[in-house]
Amino acid sequence: MASSQASRANHVLNTVVNAVAPWVNPVIDYHALAPEMVLAAGLCVVLLADLFMDESRKWILSSLAGFTLLGAMLPVLTLGLHDTDVRSMFDGRYVVDNFSLVVKALFLLAGYVVVLLSSNHVEEDEYWRGEYYFLLLSSILGMVMISSSRDLVSIFVALEFLSIPAYMLAAWRKRDIKSNEAGVKYFLLGVFASAVMLYGMSLLYGVANSTLLVDLGKSITATGSLSSLHALGIVFVIVGFAFKVSAVPFHTWAPDTYEGAPAPITAFLSVASKAAGFIALATLLFVAFPQASDVWQPFIWVLSALTMTVGNVVALRQTNIVRMIAYSSVSQGGFVLMPLAVAGINNGGASALRAVVVYMLIYAATNLGMFGVIIAVSRKTRSAEISSWGGLFSYAPGLGALATIFLASLAGIPPLGGWVGKFAAFQSMLTSVSGWGYSLALIGAVNSVVAFGYYGSVMREIWMKPVPDGDTTPIRIPGSLKLALVFTAATTLVLGILPGVAMHFGDIARLTSAFGG
């Protein structure tokens, strides 16, 4: 007994030594890592600048943050234009391919728009602190990382990297009870969800003996059939990301947090953070579990159907615009999940992934724009009640029209962007040629009509209702907000009228090491 113990310990030691023995310095492709590095440098600069600058000049921080994000875009562009398609590092644990580049660009631009939305909002708020941009950049850095991660460890680290600053940002308005509550709820549930996910990861590691996603995939193929541990692990991991993308029934934090958090952060959470969740989920599904589609497809099918339906149905009842958009974004999440539910059938993976990316691109632009309008309107009304939007068009036609564009895009009405996303999703559903696909597509179709109920009610408020307090002074919109609105609106329109652009990005965003390439 003892000897066997000893020999076992020896064996362990040996393996450890053996594993360490061929240690070589990993080759680091600095070009590939340049976006992350620019971001990291930028956030340090922001932090230091905050320390050493006096109050009156701190407005420059937002510009710094903005330039950092745009600066990080440069290497993304050069990487994209460079011939090398795939840059793999650390034995394939960190991969920069077209997929990650497209998604990185999405995160960076979304982050930039959030910075634009934030600048005046945060400055005029009493909670003005330099750390705000620092945290925001950190979170974005986490997202940028997650898009390249192909290993459980790096995914986990990146996920926490993006989440932890987000918890703090949600509770940003320190003396506001609602903001506290938003932060605490988000935090506790987020941590709980990631704990559950970690438990799932540990099980997966146990059966695959590797944290590398590709190896996970291979282990599933190798064992031939799926063990219960596999199934449990996969479900728990998906739950972690389902929380992140606020899929029903893991959505409960979303409305509360969205309502309590500062508006730009809500925009950030509902767009970038959610996108990060989808991206990681897609990476896992396509790289790690492609053979386990029997497990996750029904699960995601149910999640998608529930998410669309419950999100919509509850959104119909909302009187608070932010809460309504929160539920609407829950529902939109269901549409993103939709193609994933049939991704394994009939080689639907490629079109499902494309649909996810396209949907996220367009949804990001539209939802950010919508939040821009919400921020602009609340500058005047100081309220988030939908009824306070009455007659918006009569005194702020520009904002009214923009809100209409964004709402219509969310509702999926051509030629505004949203329809392209929905179209791609439906197309992917039908590619599967399966009962699963058709039935979910039908649910989706019904939901897309129902959704108009609440989007329409806001439009109605804007166009057809009288101004509630009779105050028709026009709304002054600061420059940065204006820029954000124009940028998002233009994107929404262009992607809607030239869907080829969105589709193109969706198509080049092929996951390396998935679908055999």
């Binding site: 179209f423 039908l442 329409g456």
Partner: protein
């Protein structure tokens, strides 16, 4: 089918010119009413000029071929392209949409409905124009879908903002109905795409390959399209949005809705559903025909029950579109041509009727039939125009309405091979019965509104119902004014001209219809 690609910039220019107007309008300050109106007017004139140019350049000898075809990459990934062209079916509707828009703009020059804001109003109208024109030229399903949906929002706002008292309900109903239909339609388009090998969304391609789809699959795909288009037409029992939308919409909205928007549905049947899915079309035809004749009788009965003039006209659309759909459902070239003619004729005539209803409402502030009367005494010209429009609407020979109605009935006697002749002959008789009811409700309307003496409340002139009637506080109501004359005369002339020389249209439509039905021959 042969494609003529000469001068293929024409259609794009004609379709998107209104958007240039929209951009111009965006930069015109809101307060500058005159400039806004002028920009809108000149945009629509310029658009129509392009339309007329198209008409002149159109090769009528080859009306069956697509002309001015332009094909560009659009969404290469899903194999959808910017593919446009017109043939004898598209062209009349395409030009009609431009004409109607121009007339509506002219009418709007002094008839901006409450709550004003001409800038937004004209912008919406021009966006609407692009959507309508685009739908008629699109030769790619996805492009078609985009244009088809593009008209939705402007119309929604037009009803919801500038409409009557119950406008919010009506606009939402309109919107949800159409959304519902188009969601299913989109699903059907996608199914079609995949079932033809996921090669292309181009209509000509699908026409060639759609016939190969298994029959029962065709039937299901057709069902999706059917609902999408039938809502728009609207066919019984999907019509209930129409009376509300029409009643509540501002005059301009009603006119555009009646004249063009409803035709998007029937056009969809003729251009897309039937040629691509011939087998399904045959299977569905008896049901379409049945719903069409139900619509004819039902719409007429609905009319008889109305107390509101505008609502009555709205219901009459249900009946008239029933004739169009009856023609379509015969699947014969004859029936299709009749349907196409019916579409144009209904557009002109019902558009005219809605103009009249709008002007009557503007003067009397009510459209309650029981409160109206003696229109001919107070405004003889408007009264006679109403009479003429009613006569045209009830299908009097020599006016345009007849050529939509009579050939449709005629065609039902001899439907395409493979359809049940007895059933269609029964339809024919029922449809003929519908003409009697049409005469009943229209003449009854005319008798009650135009004949007799004015009711006491209006007998004294404009002082009757309104308290802000200072604008026309003469002892008489103002008869047709110059804006109305300008807007209406072309319609009236067209009603007569098409009634007397139907060949103007038929010669254009006929060859194109042959192409549509090519799938049934082989």
């Amino acid at each position: 089918m042969e494609m003529l690609r000469d001068e293929n910039w024409v259609l794009s220019v004609g379709t998107f010119l209104p958007m240039v107007g929209v951009l111009l309008l965006l930069i015109v300050p809101k307060a500058n009413d005159q400039l806004i109106k002028m920009v809108a007017l000149f945009t629509s004139i310029a658009t129509l000029a392009v339309g007329v140019f198209t008409l002149f350049k159109f090769n009528f000898d080859q009306a069956g071929s697509m002309q001015f075809v332009a094909e560009n990459k659009w969404i290469p990934l899903i194999k959808s392209s910017y593919f446009i062209g017109v043939d004898g079916i598209s062209l009349p509707m395409y030009v009609l949409s431009m004409v109607i828009t121009l007339l509506v703009v002219i009418y709007s020059l002094n008839h901006i409905p409450s709550p004003g804001n001409p800038k937004a109003f004209f912008i919406l109208m021009l966006v609407l124009q692009t959507g309508m024109a685009g739908t008629f030229i699109a030769q790619d399903l996805i492009l078609f879908f985009v244009f088809f949906e593009l008209v939705l929002l402007p119309m929604y706002f037009m009803i919801g903002v500038w409409g009557g008292e119950n406008r919010q309900y009506a606009s939402l109903k309109f919107f949800l109905y159409t959304m519902f239909g188009s969601a299913l339609m989109l699903v059907a388009f996608l199914a079609l795409f995949f079932k033809t090998g996921a090669e292309s969304f181009a209509i000509p391609y699908l026409v060639e390959n759609g016939g190969a789809i298994a029959r029962n699959v065709q039937i299901w795909i057709f069902a999706g399209m059917f609902i999408g288009f039938a809502v728009k037409v609207p066919m019984f029992p999907f019509h209930t949005w129409l009376p509300d939308a029409h009643t509540q919409a501002p005059t301009q909205g009603s006119v555009i809705l009646a004249a063009i928007l409803l035709k998007l549905g029937t056009y969809g049947f003729i251009r897309i559903a039937i040629p691509i899915l011939p087998e399904a079309a045959k299977a569905w035809a008896p049901y379409i025909g049945g719903l069409a004749v139900i619509g004819i009788i039902y719409g007429a009965l609905g009319c008889l029950a109305q107390t509101d003039m505008k609502r009555l006209i709205a219901f009459s659309s249900v009946a008239h579109m029933g004739y169009v759909m009856l023609g379509v459902s015969t699947l014969t070239d004859f029936g299709m041509s009749a349907a196409m003619f019916g579409m144009v004729a209904h557009g002109l005539i019902t558009g005219m009727l809605f103009f009249l209803a709008g002007s009557i409402k503007e003067r009397y502030h009510t459209l309650e039939i029981s409160r109206l009367g003696g229109l001919l005494t107070q405004m003889p010209r408007m009264g006679w125009i109403l009479g003429m429009a009613s006569m045209a609407s009830l299908g009097l020979p020599g006016l345009a309405g007849f050529w939509g109605e009579f050939p449709a009935i005629l065609s039902a006697y001899n439907p395409a091979d493979g359809l049940n002749v007895t059933v269609f002959r029964v339809y024919m008789v029922i449809a003929a019965l519908g003409t009697v009811l049409a005469a009943a409700y229209l003449l009854w309307l005319f008798q009650r509104v135009a004949f007799g003496e004015p009711k006491a409340e209006f007998a004294g002139g404009a002082h009757g119902a309104d308290d802000h009637g200072s604008g026309h506080g003469h002892s008489q109501f103002e008869d047709v004014n110059k804006f109305e004359w300008i807007a209406w005369t072309p319609l009236l002339i067209a009603i007569v001209v098409f009634g007397v020389v139907p060949n103007l249209l038929f010669s254009m439509i006929d060859p194109a219809v042959h192409g549509i039905l090519a799938g049934f021959k082989g």
